[in-house]
């Protein structure tokens, strides 16, 4: 068995919204081709972790290195060039853009990006909707669009924040299937997920966050046997 390639390394990461200190020294790492989840209660800092890595939160300290490049040292608009793609929790579909414009919005920095046909095969719902206003799509379709536009850029490391939030089970299944295909394509993914079953079906490893720190880690196999502990962390 070959040694896993370390892609992202986060150590003692802190970040702030103005005066409020949100990340309190979080550490984690992600290997090539892995799907890793961040679990944790509401307000634990999962979204903030992603926003900090993307440079959307600018007040930050510590270490975050992707493929040997220091994320904290570069301007926010350079991060995407490293192949890091962000699918935000609120989906971020633009109401002043139609579906096609939304899809073509993020520049494709790498030639490996998916072609539109591939995208429509993955998400048939998006086909033929080009001129619909982005925000007129259903919640599930908006989620697909948010993922699709990142796949088009050739990003091979994706930050996926609660993709199943508020979606009907059928749609969750669609997204789950798409995730499987992305994994098969060799993409690396950090997934924030409240839905444990969804998380288990897709991920290799799981981190638990609490009050801005990473407090525990489980392999997917270990998750089942530690359900009580997980439930305590998540407060269910």
């Amino acid at each position: 068995m070959h040694h896993p390639v370390r892609r992202l390394e986060v150590e003692d990461l802190h970040s702030w919204y103005g005066e409020s200190h949100i990340l309190h020294g979080a550490s984690l790492h992600v290997n090539q081709g892995e799907i890793v989840t961040l679990l944790g209660r509401n307000g634990a800092g999962k979204t903030t972790m992603m926003r900090t890595l993307m440079g959307i939160v600018q007040q930050r300290k510590g270490r975050a290195v992707l493929d040997g490049q220091d994320l904290l040292a570069m301007p926010a608009h350079h991060v995407a060039r490293l192949g890091l793609g962000f699918v935000p929790e609120e989906r971020g579909i633009f109401s002043s853009l139609n579906v096609l414009e939304n899809l073509l919005l993020p520049p494709a920095f790498r030639p490996s990006g998916m072609a539109l046909e591939q995208i429509y095969t993955l998400f048939p719902n998006l086909q033929g909707r080009d001129t619909t206003i982005g925000t007129r799509l259903s919640g599930g379709e908006q989620q697909m669009l948010a993922i699709a536009r990142i796949l088009r850029t050739g990003a091979d490391f994706i930050l996926l924040d609660e993709p199943t939030e508020g979606l009907a089970p059928v749609i969750v299944e669609d997204i789950s299937r798409a995730l499987g295909e992305l994994k098969a394509l060799g993409l690396t993914i950090i997934l924030v997920e409240q839905n444990i079953r969804f998380a288990m079906a897709n991920a290799d490893r799981h981190y638990v966050m609490e009050q801005g720190r990473v407090v525990d880690e489980f392999s997917n196999e270990a998750l089942q046997s530690n359900m009580a502990k997980i439930n305590a962390y998540l407060g269910v």
């Binding site: 608009h77 971020g92 853009l97 073509l104 919005l105």
Partner: protein, 295 residues
Amino acid sequence: MPDIFGVPAAVLLGQVLLGLINGSFYAMLSLGLAIIFGMLNVINFAHGAFYMLGAFVTWLCLTQLGLNYWAALVVVPIVVGVFGAVVERLFLRRLYRIDHLYSLLFTFGLALAMEGLFRYLFGAAGKPYPVPETLTGVFRLGFMVLPVYRAWVILASVLVCLLVWLVMEKTRLGAWLRAATENPSLVTAFGINVPLMLTLTYGFCVGLAGFAGVLAAPIYQVSPAMGSSLIVIVFAVVVIGGLGSIGGAILTGLSLGVIEGLTKVFYPSASAIVIFVVMVLVLILRPAGLFGREN
């Protein structure tokens, strides 16, 4: 030709055309204001001053450098735009995160200073600028005699407005700009240098005001006060149209020019204030403006 409301149709049509000339300037300036506001959240009070700067640089080009009108038409918008971009970089950028009122006040001070500087250097009196030779002469339209230059102004500004509208609505760049208006940090996360885009947008819109200044030089006298008297009217236009829409800004600008022209026929003494009256009516009947979305 028949009479309309007791006014010969010829006179009426003539005033409509003349109104379109003023309307062209309203449209170009309010278009720039609307884009700047959408992207930077700045009410650019100095917009009129940049227009004045454009006219003055045009005049200086001719009198000091011997650069003719056509050269000015290319050079001046660039000069004005670069100056605007520098202002954005050095000053406005630092004001985005605080109350919008401060950027308005800053550009207000800038307008005062620019107007004061030009009055100090060149006096308050207007400077004539000759109509370029190729555009002298008139079209005899039957109902009126339209100077070629004025026709050119309407044509050029309508074309420029249309071009800007097309870029904003139909191109990738336009999509980036619209997206950045909605959610700049997400657009940055997609790898687009939004701060640079803001600088360029400001520079471009201000350059557009400079372009309007070049067009204006042969029609109106080139004077330090030409900008401020126009900008206040353009503000009223913007309040009427609402700041939300680019197409709206263009349409409102043109149509208010026409309304102003028609008022000259029916009730000449009110022509200076008719736009403000329309503004009051719109505020009462449709507070967000004709094309506005208020937040």
